[in-house]
Amino acid sequence: MFLIGIDVRREVSRHLVLALLGLTLVSTMLYGAWRVMTMARWIATTPAVCAKVPDYSQLAAVASGLPRIAFYAEGSQRDASAPRRGHGLPLFCAQYALAPAVVRAAGRLDPSLVAVLVDIGDMERREKVIAGLTAGIHAAGRRAFVERSTAGPVLVWGRDS
């Protein structure tokens, strides 16, 4: 149906389609805004990434003088093997706090490690590991240093005497 050169049917359906799209858009936005508010509440009550791990930054001053630090966390190291994959977060938080010192997951604990960041919650076990490390450093003919943080993690490193 044409009127003065205009396809009336097409124009009417065009406007209908646009109106429908507009309505859908507005309702989508309103729904989205409500979901955004829900999300904001969830964010506000969810702890920060590194909130559940100890504060490693107390060791930053000492760490800055060390070239590379092996990170040894509690969890699966009953056999002194490398921390399991799930321990990535404490490692990354330690790295974030101690940059530009390089922090890497420790392999087996042995005297060849220059510095070890020990993060073990169980005090008895932690002291046992530290004693083992310092003994190894001494056995290698080096001087052992231990820096403790109030949050728990301990930095153990050796230096040629």
Binding site: R10, V17, L25, I43, A48, P100, V102
Partner: protein
Amino acid sequence: MVLAAGAGVIGPALWRAGIRGWPLVCYTVGLAPALGFGPLSLLFFYARLGDLARPGLWTVAMVLASVLVLAVWCTPSRTVERTSSPGARGSRLLAVAALLALATSGIGALIVHDVQRRAWPEGTHDAVAVWNVRALFFYRDAQAFPARLREVEPRSHPHYPLFLPLAVAGQYALAEREAMAVPQATALAFVLATGFLLVAVLADVGHWPLGALAAALFWTTPVALLWGFSQGADGAVGYFLFVAVAALAAGLDDGLRLPRWLGGLALGLLAWTKNEGLVLAGLTGALYLLYRWAQRHRISGRELATLIAWSVPGLAALLLMKTWWAPESGLTTYLKGDWRARILQWQRWSYPLTEFAARFVGARGVEGWSANWPVLLAGGVIAGLWARRGRANGAGFWLGVLLLATLSFVGFYAVAPYEQRWLVAGSIDRLMLQLYPVAIGGVFLAIARLGDSPAARSGDGAMTSEASR
């Protein structure tokens, strides 16, 4: 300050391109991160690569001034007369509603950013493990940075490109101190700029109310805000892909007036931002050239040279960083194990395909996207069917980029050596955020064509007449 300088660089070039009024304002604000953070990040990379002194304020100012001169020189001078006044279409009611939606959603986004920066000051997991920590490495000891990049925990992806860390470290250096506000504000800048760019693109074709709705849709998408403000690189990837596609679409008679050099710059920065950015840049650039060929437009040597020249700083930075600084390019990690066997497993392709499809149609159980993807899909289909008889313009280009990018992501999931369900669950929304601005921009441009009168739709050449220099 960096953003203001970026705006100062792009503004005159857009003016020369014949863009005036609100499109100029919105483009200038929307493109400020590309022209501010982009050169800053590259400058700090090349300065360290060349063992030069850490760039100071004057060096940054001089580099940005040079970019300004080059940008203006590379932008063809145009006087554009629109035969129908932009923004005049649509009712006043729509304009008021769109402005209201834009303002409300913008304020909402700012509130979410404030909540997120208070709750998670150092960002999400990837920001802590990859992006922000690398900025700290660079700022605290730039001399040792290349050596330390080779030593850091391999799980922190030391092969990732350095756009974001160096943009943040560069701002630390200019401010001469570290502040968590820097990565937080950088993330905010990309989210806000993407919205302004959506307004600008639609305003450029005479439909600013639609642009305002597009930006409002972006700013009311939970996932876009969550990951956009996460201080990760995905928001920046989505932004640069959008800039690249919009600037290249301007070369496909899409009614847009962005200069082509901007497409080259954005492609380079896209690659310099994240590993998948290189794939996206390659696919987008190749599709653009294919489109030009299909349209029987001869791509001039000058245009090709401009595109390549502007993409070189970003691409070369990536190549040099991967060759000299990174422990490996990323391919070694990616192709670990029997990758041929992984490619041949149909399930490794079907599962990510299903997950993408679930998000596109808004299936139950998919959280965070609201109903936006299905609405965009429906809008795109309707606009596509309606435009059958009219000129397709660059709509197919926008759609093509989305399709190719999605397929490349599916391919990535199929070949990646990790446990697939874990990988998909942890990253698919972030990958879809990278496509999201292009999806909104493409669909809204197509819808804008529906709003054009038949006369205007029959040929946008009638809408604008250009007098090139």
